[in-house]
């Protein structure tokens, strides 16, 4: 069991692969642990990459401070871990809470970054997200930890996935209850609540950045990701079809090949995204990885594709949408 000592407290981490290979760090969402990235660890270590996973302070097997967690410690822990493992630069991926760490790391430690992959995340909380956050917090402390996890389920997964996994969900919820301590997660949520928005700092991020957002992510919505796209100059916004907040768990195979493509492209020095918007293919076997988004990507109603009703025709006939081909499957 690997433990990293940070300010006299223990951080649990797992490292797979060779330090000389491109390293991808995956940072957990709020109630996750390193085990949630098992698929990713296996996928990338078999493709010439190394993978670094760690439980944030307050999570899983890492220390759970009783009094306070300073959000800043998350970035410092990662920087310290990379130093310990003698990794100069890495690709930093993370989801939700972990996505915020990704962005802060990109701002504070640009010299350690090859590329950033913030997923289902935000740089500021609008009134809606704040309200949801407060509800989640109150539900957790007033009712219990399993209630928090249950509240997350419909935000995290599509109806299809929930239906297909109905028998496994109670076990997954119990595992989350077993592997987490309420006060640790509470401290993490409070560290985020004290946190000030940092949209104005995003322009400092110069590294290639692949922003990923689920089509039906009602927790961290399109607007939150649109802010990232507009502010980070070297970025691409990639929309993940038919999935919600925790798409890394629902479609890991599709996410892996997209991250693999991103890493290969940056390694070859071919990353040329300039704040473009793409839609990821939803079939893992498709040759095409993604294609350009034609409509207004900030709307759920495909407003650009609807003809304004005329006097003669009030039914709203849709225009034919011709989509140019985008990137195809990476050559492994």
């Amino acid at each position: 069991m690997a433990l990293f000592n940070y300010k006299n407290v223990e951080i649990y981490y797992e490292f797979a692969g060779n330090v000389k290979d491109p390293c991808i760090v995956f940072i957990n969402g709020l109630t996750q642990q390193v085990q949630h990235w098992a698929y990713y660890k296996d996928y990338f270590k078999n493709r010439g990459c190394s993978v670094l996973l760690f439980d944030l302070m307050g999570q899983g097997s890492s220390v759970k401070p009783t009094l306070f967690i300073d959000f800043q410690d998350n970035q410092n822990v990662l920087a310290g871990l990379l130093d310990k493992l003698t990794i100069d630069k890495a690709y930093i991926a993370g989801i939700s809470f972990g996505g915020v760490v990704v962005l802060r790391f990109g701002i504070e430690y640009p010299e350690k970054v090859k590329g950033l992959i913030p997923m289902s995340t935000f740089s500021e909380m609008d009134a809606q997200l704040q309200f949801i956050g407060n509800n989640l917090y109150e539900g957790m402390v007033g009712i219990g930890f399993e209630y928090l996890v249950k509240q997350f389920v419909p935000f995290n997964f599509s109806a299809n996935w929930i239906g297909n996994n109905a028998d496994k969900l109670p076990i997954a919820i119990r595992e989350s209850f077993n592997n987490n301590d309420l006060y640790g997660i509470q401290n993490m949520m409070e560290s985020l609540a004290r946190f000030q928005g940092f949209t104005h700092e995003l322009k400092q991020i110069k590294a290639p950045t692949l922003i990923m957002n689920g089509e039906f992510d009602y927790l961290t919505d399109r607007e939150a990701h649109e802010i990232l796209r507009k502010e980070i100059p070297n970025s691409r916004l990639l929309l993940m079809q038919k999935v919600c907040h925790a798409f890394t768990l629902e479609i890991p195979d599709i996410v892996c090949r997209l991250i693999e493509d991103f890493v290969l492209t940056v390694e070859k020095g071919e990353w040329k995204a300039k704040q473009d918007v793409m839609i990821a293919a939803d079939d893992v076997n498709s040759k095409e990885l993604y294609f350009p988004c034609q409509g207004d990507h900030t709307r759920l109603i495909p407003i650009n594709n609807i003809k304004k009703p005329s006097k003669a025709n009030t039914t709203g006939v849709t225009q034919k949408n011709s989509q140019k081909s985008g990137k195809t499957k990476p050559e492994a």
Binding site: L3, S61, T66, L67, V141, G144, F145, N178, D181, Y183
Partner: protein, 207 residues
Amino acid sequence: MSQKLIEIKNKAKEYFSKNELNADHETAITLFISGVKSANVLILSKIEIQPVDWHAYKYMHAQYFKDLQLFSLLNRSTNWSYNPYIYYQLSSQTFNLWGTSNLNTYILGAFDLDAKFFRYLSLSHAFKTEIRFIPLFPSDLSLDTPFLSALYDVEVQNQREIQTQISMLKNIEVPSLTVEQKEEIVRNERQVVADSYVDFLKFLITI
């Protein structure tokens, strides 16, 4: 979490993946939790007869009665063992816990906003967070038995109750303590409880 606590928890998980809970286990767990809960009830009972800030009183009063309720519920749900060694061993462990955590020092005298009160809050926080049994059982184990459902209720209720400890630990001003000293007290009390829990788990998986 200390290395030895992680290791013993992993051993206990492995043990309970192969062994079903029996009356000896249930008796040991109930006696261990009862030792802790009864101590907390005893300490909290004094707030009923001393002047306390209303806000703090409201929450400590609730915790006092909730602990009493859960303590009796768990006792009622337990399949009690006929093995006298379990009772002897748990008496010894509870006695040791009272000694290492200085529980007797919190019983006498009124609460005041001092280091001793902060230490009590840290200790009771550790009691309610370090000692958890449900995570030691397989995730697919049905909790639909009187004992397991009562044990689950104890843990869920502990998570709600610690809001009292969390709120006071974070917010009360203790003029004699710096933030570093507060952190130190919290760490020490957690260690005391963790050590006791490790000793108990070592015994539990040999039953």
